[in-house]
C-alpha cells in the first residue's frame, strides 16, 4: 500500500512484473502449442500449422483406445475418492476431536506420505504389490493412490472439523438425537462443504498422479496420464498431432474438475492448505 515513486522503485516493480509476464507467456505458449498442434494438419517450420482439422481426435481416440482408458481412469479415480473420503473423514474427525497418547505419531504417519515424493515410496510399494499379486491390477493402482489421498483428506479436514463447535453436537445430544441421526442431521451437513472441497482436490490430484499409477498399473489398469506418458515416450510410432490430441483430452478432463474444485477453494490452497500444517508439526 505504501507507494514509493522513486526511479529505482519503479524499475524494480517493472522488473518483477516483467518476470511474471515472461513466465505466464511461456506457460500459455507451452499449453497452446499442444492445443494448436492437435488441431493442425501439418506444422513444419512455420508459426502456425498449414491448415486446421479435427481428425487427429478421431484417430487418437481409436489408436489409443481412449474409451476403455477413460472408463478405467474414472473407475480408479472415483474408487480412490470414495475410499479416501470414508477413511479420511473418520480419521480426521477422531484427530480433531480427541487428544490421546501417541497422537503426534499418528499425525506424523499421515504427514509423511505427503512430504515424501511418490517415487521414493512408490518403488518398494509397487514391488510389494507385485509380490502379493496386486501389481498391474485395478486394486493395486487404487491402493497405491490411496497413500497420498487419505492423508490429504485428513489434513484438509482436521482444521475444518476443528472449527465446528463441538457444543453443536452436545446440543443435539441434549435434544435427544441418536448417534445415527446426530451424524445424518447435524454432522454431515456441517462437514459437507469441507468434504466437497477435499474430495474434489483428491479427484484432480489422482487424475494427474503419474508416478504411483505408472509404477503399479498394468495394460488394463492404466489411467489417462500414464497412457499419455507411454504415447510421448514412444513418440516415433504415432503422429505427434495424435499424441497432442490425447494430451488435450487429458487436459480437458483434468481442468473440468479443477474448475469445479476452484468454486470451493482458493487456488493458493491447492498447494498450501495441506502443506502449511507441516510448518507447525
Amino acid at each position: 500500500m505504501i507507494r514509493d515513486q522513486s526511479l529505482a522503485a519503479r524499475l524494480w516493480r517493472f522488473a518483477v512484473w516483467a518476470v511474471v509476464a515472461l513466465f505466464v507467456v511461456n506457460l500459455i505458449g507451452v499449453i497452446a502449442a499442444v492445443l494448436v498442434n492437435s488441431f493442425g494438419t501439418r506444422w513444419l517450420g512455420t508459426w502456425l500449422p498449414a491448415a486446421w482439422t479435427t481428425r487427429w481426435y478421431f484417430s487418437a481416440w481409436r489408436e489409443f483406445q481412449l474409451t476403455p482408458v477413460l472408463i478405467v481412469t474414472f473407475e480408479i479415480v472415483f474408487t480412490v475418492v470414495v475410499i479416501s473420503g470414508l477413511v479420511g473423514v473418520t480419521s480426521a474427525y477422531a484427530l480433531a476431536r480427541r487428544d490421546f497418547p501417541g497422537k503426534r505419531l499418528v499425525v506424523l504417519a499421515f504427514l509423511l506420505p505427503l512430504l515424501v515424493p511418490p517415487l521414493t515410496y512408490g518403488i518398494p510399494l509397487a514391488t510389494l504389490l507385485y509380490r502379493i499379486g496386486l501389481g498391474g491390477t485395478f486394486w493395486g493402482v487404487v491402493a497405491a493412490n490411496l497413500v497420498p489421498a487419505v492423508p490429504f483428506v485428513v489434513l484438509v479436514m482436521i482444521p475444518f472439523i476443528e472449527q465446528i463447535d463441538p457444543r453443536v453436537e452436545q446440543a443435539a445430544r441434549v435434544f435427544g438425537a441418536s448417534t445415527t441421526s446426530l451424524f445424518a442431521r447435524i454432522l454431515l451437513p456441517l462437514l459437507l462443504p469441507g468434504m466437497l472441497a477435499a474430495l474434489l482436490l483428491v479427484l484432480v490430484r489422482t487424475l494427474a498422479m503419474f508416478e504411483l499409477t505408472f509404477l503399479t498399473a498394468g495394460p488394463t489398469s492404466q489411467t489417462l496420464v500414464v497412457a499419455l506418458y507411454y504415447a510421448v515416450f514412444a513418440s516415433g510410432v504415432r503422429a505427434p498431432q495424435s499424441i497432442d490430441a490425447m494430451a488435450v483430452v487429458y487436459m480437458v478432463t483434468t481442468l473440468f474438475w479443477l474448475v469445479i474444485a476452484l468454486q470451493f477453494v482458493n487456488p493458493t490452497q491447492i498447494v498450501a492448505r495441506a502443506k502449511q500444517r507441516t510448518a507447525d508439526a
Binding site: 499442444v34 515424501v116 521414493t120 514391488t127 494430451a247 481442468l255 479443477l258 502449511q276
Partner: protein
Amino acid sequence: MAAAAQGVMRRPPLRKRLAARGLDGTTLLVLPGIALMLALFVYPFAYGFVDSITPREGPWFANYHTFFTDPFQYRTIAATLWLALPVTIINVVVAIPIAFRVRLMRRQRLLTTILVLPVTLGTVLVADGLLNFLGPQGWFNRTLMLAGILGAPLKLTNNYWGVFASLVITGFPFAFLLTLSYVTGIDPAVEQAAATLGARARQRFTRIFLPLLLPGLAVTFCLSFVQAFSVFPSAVLLGAPAGSTRVISIAAYQAAFEQYDHSLGAAIAIIMGLVQLVIVLAILGLRPLFYRGPVAGTKG
C-alpha cells in the same frame, strides 16, 4: 500419590479410565486410517528396507556397494542434485519478490488460477508441451530468432535444459503459491508500523519481513527441493535419460522394473530418500535460529 490413594479406594471402570486419557469410541474412528497407512506406507517402506539388504547375491550391503562403486549409478546423485538445487534456488528466490508484489494486487485470483494449471496438469503434459514449444522449430526459438537474439535455434530438448525448463514450469508456481500464502499471513499493519518508524523499503524487508518469513521459506525450499529431486517423467521425455539427465529415480526404476532386481531398486530408492532427508534436515536444522511463532499480528 493422590492417584494411588484413589486406586486403593475404588478404581473406576476401565472404560472410564481410558476415556479420561482420550480413548473412547470416537478415538477408534482413527483406526481404519491408521491401518491403511501402516499397510500401504509404513510396511512397504520397511519391506523395501529389508529387501534392499537381502540382495540376490553377496553380503547384506551388496546393493549399496554396487551403487557406490559403479560410476554409472553413483553419478546419478550428482546429476540429480545438479538439476534440483539450481532449480529450487531459482524458484524460491524469484518467488519472494513476486509474492510481495502480488500480495498488494486486488485481483490475485486470475494470476493464481493460471499458475495453478501446471501444478495440476503435472509433468507429463508439461513435458509433452515443452517438446514442441522448445523444439528447434518451436515458438520459443522462433521468437528469439525473430527478435534477432539468436542466429540459429538453440537445442533445448533431450538435454539438461529441457528438464530444467520443465522443473521451472511446474516448480515455480508451486514455490510461488506456497510463498504467497506465507506472505499474506503477515499483518500488513506490521509493515506500515515499520514505515512510520522510519524504515525504508529495503529495511522493512530485511528487518521485518525476512525474519518473519524465513521459517515458511525453509519449508517451501524443502518441499520444492524434494519434488525437484524426485523428477522422473520429464527427465525421461525431455532429457537425455542415458546421459546428462540420468537422474536417480531413473536408476531406481530401471533396476526394479527393467532389470527386475527389486532388491537393488529398493536400495536406490532408499538412497534417494536419504539424500532428500539430508538436505531437508540441513535446512530445517537452521530453523531454531529463526523466529517461530504467530506472524499474523499480535492481537491479544
